[in-house]
């Protein structure tokens, strides 16, 4: 009987653990997770404060962040940034690094530079693929963070 109870407990907590693993899909990443897309632009990008990424060059620079994914299905994505002339987009990539589900390009609001959240759309993830965030970060622009649900 004791052995049975132990087995039941192990099974029950296994179910809970699995449920928590699939339900807790929302992920937040800091802006500093972005990297320069091209080696020549590395010196343009500096970490601001603890974890934001700022472009200190005088022209826009392309930055990329890649997030491996395991949960099959649609995932809403967003980028939180400071700017007024920056665009971002998200793409699901396959095993050879090519795009599979390309999202539309999303632009910041024009006007004074401000903190704003860009909805970069929903990306479909197949098993063992990744989502790539790509932004053309304007001079003085700052990426605070980005998220995947």
């Amino acid at each position: 009987m004791k052995a049975f109870q132990t087995l039941a407990k192990v099974c029950a907590f296994g179910v809970v653990a699995l449920t928590a693993g699939t339900a807790g899909a929302w992920q937040y990443y800091p802006g500093s997770a972005f990297k320069a897309s091209f080696a020549g632009d590395v010196s343009c990008l500096n970490v601001q404060s603890y974890s934001a990424m700022r472009n200190d060059c005088t022209t826009a620079r392309l930055v990329t962040a890649t997030v491996p994914m395991w949960t099959v299905g649609w995932h809403p994505t967003s980028v939180y940034l400071y700017g007024n002339n920056t665009w971002c987009e998200t793409t699901t990539v396959n095993g050879v690094g090519n795009g599979s589900n390309l999202g539309a390009t999303t632009y910041t609001l024009a006007g004074p530079m401000q903190w704003q959240s860009l909805n970069t759309g929903d990306r479909y993830v197949w098993e063992d693929t990744a989502i790539v965030f790509r932004c053309n970060l304007q001079p003085g622009g700052v990426i605070g963070g980005f998220s995947i649900d």
Binding site: G24, Y80, N98, N101, L102, Q114, Q116, S117, N119
Partner: protein, 217 residues
């Protein structure tokens, strides 16, 4: 004497049997209580996991806003919407209007199954003359401006919410840069259905979805 002993043994046996039965019933009751307690623990753990997820999200969003208010150049009133709010009104957001279906679509299948679903949906889709004409024009202009000179459009067909585009490149090296920047003016999502080498041609088949819709992957 023997009779008394037999009586005593019979009584003793009866008492022992009753005792065993009572012990068994008590043990069963205890097991049921433990099982119920275990169920409660599982329920609480599930609720806690859900609550933690919401708390984590709220905390992260609050942290991002707090960070922005500390380091940003704008006053709070001039700040953009938070991450949980809608988009900053970009023209090309493929998630618009798609939130309602997030929970409806089963997250199943391989890439090949997605491709089959999309091609089937495209084949079954009626033609919306209004959107089809505009979408064809947009794609034609985009392709004319950005397609490499050695590449060509093999096929272009738009229906009601989906367009199927077949591009022929000389090599994969021509396709990759085009894919990364050549379709930026298309306002919706794009599904790259296939990239195959056919003889000397590198053929790429795309499905371009209407703005505000998602291809049925």
């Amino acid at each position: 004497m023997s009779s008394r002993l037999q009586t005593f043994l019979a009584l003793f046996n009866t008492a022992a049997v009753v005792g065993v039965l009572l012990a068994f019933l008590g043990h069963q009751r205890t097991s049921e209580q433990e099982l119920e307690a275990l169920r409660d623990q599982v329920r609480q753990a599930s609720a806690s996991a859900t609550a933690n997820q919401g708390e984590r999200r709220a905390a992260a969003e609050a942290a991002m806003r707090m960070w922005a208010s500390t380091h940003g150049a704008q006053s709070p009133s001039a700040r953009g919407p938070g991450p949980s709010q809608g988009k900053a009104a970009p023209p090309g957001d493929d998630a618009a209007g798609a939130d309602d279906t997030t929970d409806e679509l089963p997250p199943t299948g391989s890439f090949e199954e997605s491709r089959t679903r999309v091609f089937t949906a495209f084949a079954n889709e009626p033609v919306d003359n209004d959107w089809s004409g505009k979408a064809t024009q947009t794609l034609n202009e985009t392709l004319r401006q950005h397609l490499p000179s050695n590449s060509r459009v093999k096929a272009l067909d738009c229906r009601a919410t989906l367009c199927r585009v077949e591009l022929v490149h000389r090599s994969a090296a021509d396709s990759a840069p085009f894919m990364m920047s050549g379709l930026r003016s298309w306002p919706g999502a794009i599904f790259v259905a296939s990239e195959v080498q056919e003889g000397e041609d590198y053929v790429v088949t795309l499905i371009a979805a209407k703005e505000g819709t998602r291809p049925p992957l």
